[in-house]
Symmetry: C2
Subunit: 428 residues, 2 copies
């Protein structure tokens, strides 16, 4: 196809007229479609319904260590849950604490604790004039909201095909003692689906932070969330890399079963060095008597072990894969060669990231909404909701049905084309 | 019986010899007994085993409003859970937020949020030179640990038969702007089992705090935890009282089903004015996508409504009542008239509070431990773990079996007698 920019004014106007007709038709259907959040579909949730049966009134509710999981006790998680989630995030069970239902909540609490109590004896961040976090962009909006909530200054770090711009990361982390953290989704990243390369992970491990309380916030949300059995990204395990480099305390790993079992009713965990975990537990024992051990037991009894979990994730992949392919096919067929946007084909995770012509993202999302398609707000993938180029749009294909996705993609590409033509026309 | 203090030196020494013989006998049994924590017994947990069956793989897991409880969404709790816990804590469902499994965690988060973000727009407490909390004593050790953790200065307020010393409370709250809160367990208090009188609650509601961000931390942990059907304490509902006095924002109410269903796997909530709840939700939506809705649904489907919950609590009472009576009978029979200790007979809750002769509590707890009986650490019921009189001991009769309790009480009274005799002998 001829790139739009190479079409004449007349050709563009003609194309616009035809697109507007198509748009009017789909708009007239009065659809309500949602590609805004990384929410599993009902079919995916059905996969874990067996979990509702593994504990019943005649089940032995003692965990392996003999603790009655119905009662108080066990601050940091029952042993078998530690083993399962440790395997999931590839650390030793001794390097993990099991929390409640939300890894986001763990990350929030981690920042909150650092604000009021510092990190392993450092000055509480609330006593400092300035605290900064590095934010690879585009990234996860809820990460950025946490740091914004605590008044932490966020610094955009561009993402490349192999992860964040490590020259820039090293420059900041190794020289600026105000830099206390970096938000990472290292595998099948939100929203681009990029997995950090081996070299990127090793460069993370080799950081020499100016601040002793600098931590890498390694949110491995999609660690086992592959789309393919044969094409899988591999991520080097960072805690071990940091250990090898003599800085085992430099990373916090976060994970959860939110998109494995049930979002909101899953189990979340933090993986870190023993020194970090001891520091965390000092606060944790004040905050709670313990998390929901019955739900921990429910997960362990349902999945059995990490192999059971991996097999379960293949069923998720079977549902998600055709959805991703529907969107990607639509983008390729309709936008390929037009040079009005680019995207990456992810091998896992929950998102497709689309980069429109600069200045077009907000308008595209607004246009799609006209026809009943809700997308993630343009800008949401950047700190403070501000995409400097107004270019990035996050596409979440998981929740709609395949049929809905087909129409949603149609609306999306129409919106991209219409907005892009207007932009090109203005510049002609 | 003759008070020990009226016995002669010889009589005391003779009594001591006989007691030491008894103590040696029970010690020789090598028992392991625990009256240290307010933990339900296995028999109590068995009462809620039906809850393990109410949700299964063929259950409709949508809540009344049509939300699929297996998926993300609903920040502040499903409607039917709000109704159940609102009834439990006697407020409107519009005045409640449902959290995770632990009311302690809500209290911690409430203080943590006030530290970093203030209360409804006030200065964050971490920016203030001094923050104080009033602590009715004896009280709940985990409350005091939270305020200690955040470096908040704690001020002891003596408990009377009708609640905290309200003259002192008024004096502090109405005049000192550094006083930001007071910890209250208003019904069947921990550890004394005291219920605040109507007048005490009304005096709370009539407080005119010097600090706009002063809040009453009303931990109604034992609101429906009666021991008797015919002898029940009544507590005036404080949110309404505060509303009547024109200060609806002055109180946070906390409750949970930890000692109704399963500790650690229950549901907790905060009740407060809408303005407070809006303030809380601003932070909550950053902290989490939502709490465990399946567990909320599980609770609602099991109890049905507040009447179902009340009936359920009667079964708890049937198990707890004889345990309390075993301890109270033991105290009365063995210590009555000796004037070496006093206690209150509670009508609900989880504890019996024992006041030994000044300077004896630590020694009594240590003595009991010699014979294999673990009690709550002496001093734990006071801020910083320091009982100025070294007198108060918390007895938790819920966990041991009735047979174990009989022996535990025997060990306890022997320890009280032996330590008291030593003390009286010293002073003779």
């Amino acid at each position: 196809m001829t790139p739009y920019k190479d079409l004449s004014r007349e050709e563009l106007l003609q194309e616009k007229e035809s697109l507007e007709k198509q748009f009017a038709e789909v708009k007239a259907k009065g659809l309500k479609l949602d590609m805004s959040r990384g929410k599993p579909s009902a079919a995916q949730l059905d996969l874990a319904m067996g979990m509702m049966d593994v504990l019943n009134s005649s089940t032995d509710l003692k965990c392996r260590e003999g603790v009655d999981c119905r009662n108080y006790g066990v601050l940091d998680g029952i042993r078998e849950a530690k083993e399962l989630l440790a395997d999931m995030t590839e650390v030793s069970p001794d390097n993990i604490i099991i929390y409640g239902n939300s890894s986001l909540n763990i990350m929030y609490d981690t920042v909150a604790r650092s604000m009021t109590h510092g990190v392993m004896g450092s000055t509480p961040w609330c006593k400092l004039d300035k605290v900064k976090f590095l934010c690879p962009v585009p990234g996860y909006d809820r990460h950025f909201k946490i740091t914004e909530h605590f008044g932490i200054e966020m610094v955009n770090i561009p993402m490349h095909a192999d992860g964040p711009d490590m020259d820039m990361v090293e420059e900041y982390v190794n020289n600026d003692p105000a830099v206390k953290g970096i938000w990472c989704v290292p595998k099948y990243s939100n929203p681009q689906g990029i997995t950090y390369s081996d070299e990127t992970v090793r460069r993370f491990a080799r950081l020499k932070p100016a601040a002793e309380d600098f931590r890498i916030y390694w949110d491995n949300a999609y660690g086992i969330h592959h789309l393919y059995e044969d094409k899988q990204d591999n991520l080097v395990e960072i805690l071990m890399e940091c250990k090898k480099e003599g800085r085992p305390d430099m990373v916090y790993k976060f994970c959860s079963t939110s998109k494995v079992s049930f979002p909101g009713s899953g189990v979340a965990a933090i993986g870190a060095s023993k020194a970090n975990l001891e520091d965390i537990k000092k606060q944790m024992k004040i905050q709670t008597i313990g998390h929901d051990k019955l739900n921990q037991l429910r997960h362990v009894r349902f999945f059995g072990d990490i192999h059971g979990m991996v097999l379960h994730m293949r069923k998720h992949a079977d549902i998600l894969r055709p959805k991703f392919e529907t969107v990607l096919d639509g983008l390729k067929t309709e936008l390929g060669g037009l040079e009005i946007g680019s995207w990456i084909e992810p091998r896992g995770g929950y998102f497709i990231s689309f980069d429109a012509l600069p200045g077009c993202a907000k308008a595209i999302v607004a246009k799609a909404k006209e026809a009943g398609l809700v997308m993630t707000d343009a800008g949401a993938t950047f700190p403070y909701g501000k995409d400097p180029l107004d270019s990035n749009i996050r596409i979440a294909p998981s929740y709609p049905t395949p049929e809905e996705l087909k129409v949603a993609t149609e609306i999306f590409v129409l919106s991209v084309k219409l907005v892009s033509i207007d932009k090109i026309l203005l510049e002609k």
